[in-house]
Symmetry: C2
DNA sequence: ACAATAGTGTCTGTTAGACACTATGCC
DNA sequence: GGCATAGTGTCTAACAGACACTATTGT
């Protein structure tokens, strides 16, 4: 029984599935690859694990997000690890994948800062045109096993949304209940009962009304703005009986 | 921006949390380490990923289970990946962890075959005394971050048991409904309603009665034996509304 | 006043659990 | 027959969804 480290080198990478909601459609951020293999193809933002600078693979994922997208996602969850000889032409590889959820506004702001910053400084180095959102139901051909990874991320997000507060991370810091409900509906892909939804949100005791703030401007009654209570900013709230 | 593989080598391992139920108590199989680091300590069965022989890390986990425990678990699920500099004194490491569920009978049979086989052949090489079950609530001091890994496995199994057929993998191939209910109760740590439980199992339509077979022998009415329908032997059945 | 959406009160069908009952083996 | 557990029928409380109603803005 050998006990040495494997002689065949193993490529260790992280890949990040950054999801956001644009006009009630779940979208994933892809990056045009600038290097071989698959140069020029749209792929998940990812990179090698840097053992000399990353505390762990979550730090690698955060570094990748910061350097390639210019954003620090408030929600970053480990998804799964994909491995094997077949997935990467460079050899036997391990990809630890993460799922990031970001509001569309925050993402657009980061991308805008990104393109400006790349004029003045050298980092982040990619222009906005190398980053693009794609509807998760209409992806281009993806290299490696990135299609499976996106699929796993979407399935995870859908599943968790059934019994947790996860979709709030797709909204901005303040949002109305109708907005949040639309977010749930977009993620789940089905309509949600308004009365039940509000009962659940009330039970969860996870939101607080922003005093006196409403979102108006339209020709109808304005809606109360809510935000996450501080204790739920970084962790999920779970429902006992789902939805 | 460097794009080469990290210069610092990364140790890639798999660790398996093998859980079973003994007298309604959830137990984890630990192995006494024969090599440094932590020689002599109880630890999760694990080993290096062998890029030259394993198709992927799940195959690595299956190989580790087979070679160190002498069992092929019918249920083997990826748990999470633990990584970083601090967890292993040998350096920056990645541990892809798996959770295996096995009936106590199957495990005992494997361990018995293991000890016999180790007399005649060279593989599996470990005697039974190097493998021992521990109550998950009363673990010895574990090396690396194995305590966290076991904790994650138990939490995952508890969580999934609330809304899936997962606990059936802790029973043998045939079992009675009261047995299965006890299994759920042991995993969840709380009593479940008999009528509701049977309604759910009926809805799931996942079990089939073994014709004419009952488990008797006691001074009371014998119970009907059931087994998993073939289509659910390797996949979970999910409940819409939990428990 | 009207349109349009926010937010609530209430009714009803469904579901989960409590309880009690019957069923069937062994002694 | 007695005992112990298997298995079921049924009542009730809790819950989720449907619907209708009121509330509040801009035009």
């Amino acid at each position: 029984m050998k006990d040495r480290s494997s002689p065949t080198p193993i490529v260790c990478t992280v890949d990040v599935v950054l999801l956001t909601l644009r006009e009630s459609v779940l979208q994933v951020l892809l990056l045009r690859r600038e290097q071989a293999p698959f140069e020029g193809a749209w792929a998940l933002p990812g990179g090698f694990v840097h053992a000399d600078e990353d505390a762990d693979t979550e730090a690698s994922a955060a570094r990748v997000l910061q350097s390639k997208v210019g954003i620090a996602s408030p929600y970053l969850e480990q998804l799964a690890t994909f491995s094997g000889l077949a997935r990467d032409p460079r050899g036997w590889s391990i990809a630890v994948t993460y799922c990031a959820l970001v509001s569309h506004d925050a993402l657009q702001a980061a991308l805008a800062a990104n393109i400006e910053g790349s004029v003045q400084s050298q980092s982040p180095s990619r222009a906005r045109s190398h980053l693009q959102l794609f509807d998760v139901a209409a992806l281009p051909q993806l290299p490696f096993d990135h299609a499976r990874i996106v699929e796993a991320a979407v399935a995870r997000v859908r599943g968790k949304s059934l019994y947790s507060s996860l979709p709030v991370f797709l909204c901005g810091p303040e949002f109305t209940l109708p907005q949040l409900q639309q977010t749930y509906e977009a993620v789940l892909g089905e309509a949600v009962n308004k009365v039940s939804f509000r009962r659940k949100m009330d039970e969860l005791d996870m939101l607080e009304a922003v005093p006196g703030a409403v979102r108006g401007g339209a020709a109808h009654r304005p809606a109360q703005l809510y935000r996450l209570r501080p204790e739920y900013r970084r962790s999920l709230s779970l429902l006992a009986r789902g939805l």
